[in-house]
């Protein structure tokens, strides 16, 4: 049970972490740059490649795949051939957007925990009335909120780019249920997975980069999903995404449980390296 005093402690520590991030913009900027960079491939395929090759997107394999996807997303039928193909490309590349909060979470959470270890600040912290569950929550809160900011930033970049370069009205496809599930459900869940993995790994290593590299394996399943979509020229529908979100939520529950065990006072003092 998290009461008012507990929240005050959690927020005190989370505010401290946010202040430290403010003093180290280098922690967030790479993830922000990565997020911005990850929006580019969709626009390269959608805008730049047709101009370079002289072949409209409507004449490419993407248009055929978009036709086939109308069954999955009937709203596609309302657009021109070019618009359908553009919407299809946008939807395929949306999975990339999830990498921004993952990378941001890994980087920030690893630093938030390993930074405390390196400065030997954990013992005085544990001598306060903060409970170990509160400590874990406080340590992931700031990275989580910043990661959600990164996710929102990539969404706005997508939206802005689509409004600017795609056929009129294609931007509306970014408000489909599928997109909202990706951004609103899978984004936070995968970010939490990354945070918990970073927290757990950080308890065993003393270098934030090592923690980030180990946690980076989380990127692989996302990349695999993306490549599968791209090669198969299909879209994962909302039910499939929700099923994956369910699996992510389950793994998050397990990871939080493991994190709480690792964040016991005695474990931190005696077993953390």
């Amino acid at each position: 049970m998290v009461d008012g005093r507990a929240w005050a402690r959690i927020l005190a520590l989370a505010r401290k972490d946010a202040e430290e991030v403010r003093h180290q913009p280098g922690l967030v900027l790479p993830a922000l740059a990565m997020g911005a960079g990850l929006t580019l491939p969709a626009f390269i395929v959608m805008v730049i490649a047709p101009r370079l090759t002289g072949e409209a997107l409507a004449d490419s394999d993407f248009a055929e795949a978009a036709e086939a996807a109308i069954g999955l997303a009937p709203a596609l039928a309302a657009y021109s051939l070019e618009g359908r193909a553009q919407a299809f490309v946008l939807q395929q590349f949306l999975l990339f957007a999830l990498l921004a909060p993952v990378l941001g979470s890994l980087s920030l959470a690893a630093q938030a925990i390993i930074g405390e270890k390196q400065s030997r600040a954990l013992e005085p912290l544990l001598a306060t009335p903060i409970r170990t569950g509160e400590l874990l929550l406080a340590k992931v809160l700031t990275p989580f909120l910043i990661s959600m900011g990164l996710l929102l930033a990539t969404f706005l970049l997508y939206l802005g780019g689509t409004a600017l370069w795609a056929e009129p009205g294609v931007w509306r496809t970014l408000f489909w249920t599928r997109t909202l599930v990706l951004y609103g459900v899978m984004g936070p869940l995968v970010s939490l997975t990354a945070l918990m993995m970073a927290a757990i790994i950080s308890s065993r290593v003393n270098d934030a980069r090592t923690a980030q590299q180990l946690g980076g394996f989380l990127v692989l399943p996302l990349m695999a999903l993306f490549v599968t979509q791209l090669l198969g020229q299909f879209l994962l529908g909302t039910p499939a995404l929700l099923a994956m979100a369910g699996l992510l939520a389950l793994s998050d529950v397990l990871l939080v449980g493991l994190g709480i065990r690792i964040f016991q006072r005695e474990t931190i003092l005696m077993r953390w390296k």
Binding site: L13, K16, S119
Partner: protein
């Protein structure tokens, strides 16, 4: 604390430690590395549960249920300052004040910064401060919630003499404020200067007394007696008078004696046997003698 023990695997780090510390009292813990001083502090601060025994702070027994409340009555200065280097002194202290539930209006933070003499550095980055000033910030952190019990783990370790002196003065002031203070240190002179009592630990409590009584317990003082000519021929006379001869070097006898009458008795015996004395230099047992004797006796 009563019968306090803590085991790590097969190793008994603290063995049946019983000790009471009163308000307005400074008790120093002395002991070799690995004697259990830090483990004792960690148990008192509610960081580690004891394997056996009990702890009561201000009448409240320390249990898993009361640990959070008890922690707010204990101020712990850890061996390493463990400060957030990128943040200012004020940010460090304000965060701890909030963690302890102290009103966030900043008045207590200002008061504690003023008490340890860092109020003029409040907005400086902690990482830019000298080690002595960082230690004062860490001390302020241990006091920000106004705890009645303060645990100081090697508070002057690594400080230059002037900074160490300032920290010692602050510790003495804590006693004047009526706090119970426990200090873990390897610095015997420091322990002797500031402590009301000294507890010698080697996993178990070997002794706990005032510095003067600890020295007196050692009893056997040493005396250097310089005679005319070779001292070797007088060693047997000194032995017969109850002294043990530690060394004979040229004209000097290094004797170990016990009891108040020992020196006059030996001098009288030597003079009576015809020795001509040039110098008698009695040396009282130091705290170091007493400490080493206790630790050696423990094996």
């Amino acid at each position: 604390m009563h019968g306090l023990s803590r085991r790590f695997g097969n190793r008994l780090a603290v063995d049946g430690l019983s000790l009471e510390v009163g308000a307005g009292e400074i008790v120093s813990l002395l002991g070799p590395n690995g004697a259990g001083k830090t483990t004792t502090f960690r148990m008192l601060a509610g960081l580690l549960p004891p394997s056996a025994g009990s702890i009561s702070i201000g009448g409240t027994a320390l249990t898993p249920d009361t640990a959070d409340a008890v922690r707010s009555r204990v101020g712990l200065l850890t061996e390493a300052p463990g400060l957030w280097d990128r943040l200012s002194v004020r940010w460090n202290l304000r965060t701890y004040a909030r963690l302890h539930g102290v009103a966030a209006d900043g008045a207590r933070v200002d008061a504690v910064m003023s008490a340890v003499g860092i109020d003029d550095r409040a907005d400086e980055r902690v990482g830019a401060l000298s080690k002595g000033l960082q230690q004062r910030v860490a001390l302020a952190r241990a006091l920000v919630h106004d705890p009645p019990l303060v645990l100081l783990d090697e508070p002057t370790s690594g400080l230059d003499p002037a900074s160490a002196r300032q920290v010692r003065d602050l510790i003495v002031r804590l006693r004047a404020e009526g706090r119970a203070v426990m200090v873990s240190t390897h610095n015997l002179a420091e322990a002797e200067a500031i402590s009301d009592r000294i507890a010698v630990l080697s996993s178990r409590l070997l002794a706990c007394d005032t510095p003067r009584r600890l020295r007196e317990r050692r009893q056997a003082g040493t005396v250097v007696i310089e005679v005319e000519g070779e001292a070797a021929s007088w060693a047997s006379v000194a032995r017969a008078a109850g002294a043990s001869v530690d060394a004979v070097e040229g004209s000097a006898l290094l004797l170990r004696l016990s009891g108040e009458r020992a020196v006059p008795d030996v001098v009288s015996a030597l003079v009576g046997a015809g020795a001509r004395l040039r110098r008698v230099d009695p040396r009282d047992a130091s705290l170091e003698d007493a400490y080493l004797a206790l630790v050696r006796a423990d094996g």
